[in-house]
């Protein structure tokens, strides 16, 4: 699937989540899971994270205590059935929206992001993103070395001076590193404002996705959910 498909899916799923209620959220979750199994298995790893489930299920746990009037007694606890239902719906909404994001935009690779920006006429932003991604490790290493050097030279005794030195050195070194990148880009005649953008065509899977989403939207419209 092309990056357009993932972007389309994220936009559609986010819109669908805000406009869907009740058990239809379950249907939406199933559509998202089907999408994940077919085109975004990496995004489904979100479901293996305990933190994700703790976040989603907190709504189910809190709902019976904090929403509506208590009408059921379970041992010493007085719970609200309406609260449980509302909590379940809240959890469903959080699940579908978070999953939509994880399966869609978050599944794009760096090269996909750069290609999309290039196609949208934002070549410079794509270049900056790619550059930043590639320099993350270098900048982290540089900051660590600066910190250790200041530490070894007695920075602990004068923490404010050490902090100032650290900040100035880190920013100055970052800019110096930038000069090297600029020279390299100039040698290769890179122009962020010129040139033809590389084509990023739709693929067959994008059309299948479009048909699937259109069908589901039609069902929601037919039952009056939208």
């Amino acid at each position: 699937m092309s990056p357009w498909g993932y972007l389309l899916f994220t936009a559609w799923a986010a819109l669908a989540t805000t406009m869907t209620a009740g058990w239809w959220l379950m249907g939406l979750a199933l559509v998202e899971l089907a999408f994940g199994l077919m085109w975004s298995r990496r995004g489904l790893r979100l479901l293996h994270r305990p933190r994700f489930w703790a976040f989603v299920l907190s709504a189910v746990a809190l709902g019976p205590f904090l929403i509506g009037e208590p009408d059921v007694a379970v041992g010493p606890l007085r719970l609200s059935r309406a609260g449980f239902t509302a909590g379940l719906e809240m959890a469903g909404r959080a699940f579908t929206l978070t999953l939509a994001f994880g399966l869609g935009i978050a599944s794009l690779s760096l090269s996909d992001v750069v290609a999309v920006f290039d196609r949208l006429g934002l070549r410079g932003l794509g270049f900056a993103t790619g550059l930043a991604m590639n320099l993350l490790g270098t900048l982290r290493e540089m900051a660590t070395v600066t910190l250790q050097t200041i530490w070894l030279r007695g920075g602990v005794r004068r923490p404010w001076t050490a902090l100032r030195l650290f900040l100035v050195t880190t920013v100055a070194n970052t800019l110096r590193y930038g000069d090297e990148v600029i020279n390299a880009a100039a040698v290769r005649a890179f122009d962020p404002n010129g040139g033809q953008p590389a084509p990023l065509p739709l693929r067959r899977a994008d059309l299948w996705l479009l048909a699937l989403l259109a069908g589901y939207t039609g069902v929601l419209l037919a039952v009056g959910m939208w």
Binding site: G43, A128, L139, V168, A186
Partner: protein
């Protein structure tokens, strides 16, 4: 965008990467020590304060309109593309912080100390509303009832008046604004100090 040259984009990429380094390393560390379910204050304030410091320092070296927003977009994308970083919350927070900083700089027209301070304060102040906005977005309108009941029950449990709870909330917001303002002030001073040290004022005006 045509006013942006190679140097502008490289500098945006570098400061976006610097902010992302802070988010990925220190942010992950703080989230591990203070899980977001238990702590909504410290992590956001620390990360927000450093983030606005980095982004506004970058503004010294890319004096084009929109540069702080673009630094924020790069950082948000890096956070998104980093392993285990596919989360909606930090993405929205970083983009919103940079939008607020950029809005203040846009109103100020030329870079000024007060604009850095106010922009920084508003950006970190956003963290206060971020949790509520994201919860409303993710959980729907039921979350409003949950929060109202929690404040009421919490006040009763601690023997406090509801107005005291509002006072606590106001203090938490004020603390964020102060930290953000300090972040903006530090960025102004730091950017100036580095520019003087490197002997350059408006690097984006260079030919490349």
């Amino acid at each position: 965008m045509s006013s942006y040259n190679v140097r502008s984009w490289v500098t945006i990429g570098l400061f976006g990467a610097l902010w992302a380094v802070v988010e990925v390393t220190l942010g992950s560390y703080l989230h591990l020590i203070f899980p977001s379910q238990a702590n909504t204050f410290l992590t956001g304030v620390v990360m927000g304060g450093i983030g606005v410091g980095v982004a506004l320092t970058g503004r010294h070296f890319v004096p084009n309109r929109g540069s702080v927003l673009l630094i924020g977009v790069v950082t948000a994308l890096l956070k998104l593309l980093s392993p285990g970083g596919a989360q909606l919350g930090p993405f929205v927070a970083i983009v919103m912080e940079s939008v607020l900083m950029e809005a203040v700089l846009w109103i100020a027209r030329t870079p000024r100390r007060w604009a850095f301070v106010v922009g920084g304060a508003l950006a970190v102040g956003w963290n206060f509303f971020h949790k509520f906005v994201m919860m409303r977005l993710l959980f729907g309108k039921g979350i409003v009832e949950v929060y109202t009941k929690m404040v009421r029950d919490g006040s009763q449990m601690l023997g406090l008046d509801v107005s005291a709870a509002i006072l606590i909330i106001a203090v938490l917001l004020l603390a964020r604004l102060v930290v953000g303002g300090i972040g903006g002030w530090v960025a102004w001073e730091l950017g100036g100090a580095v520019a003087r040290r490197l002997g350059r004022r408006t690097p984006a005006a260079s030919p490349h």
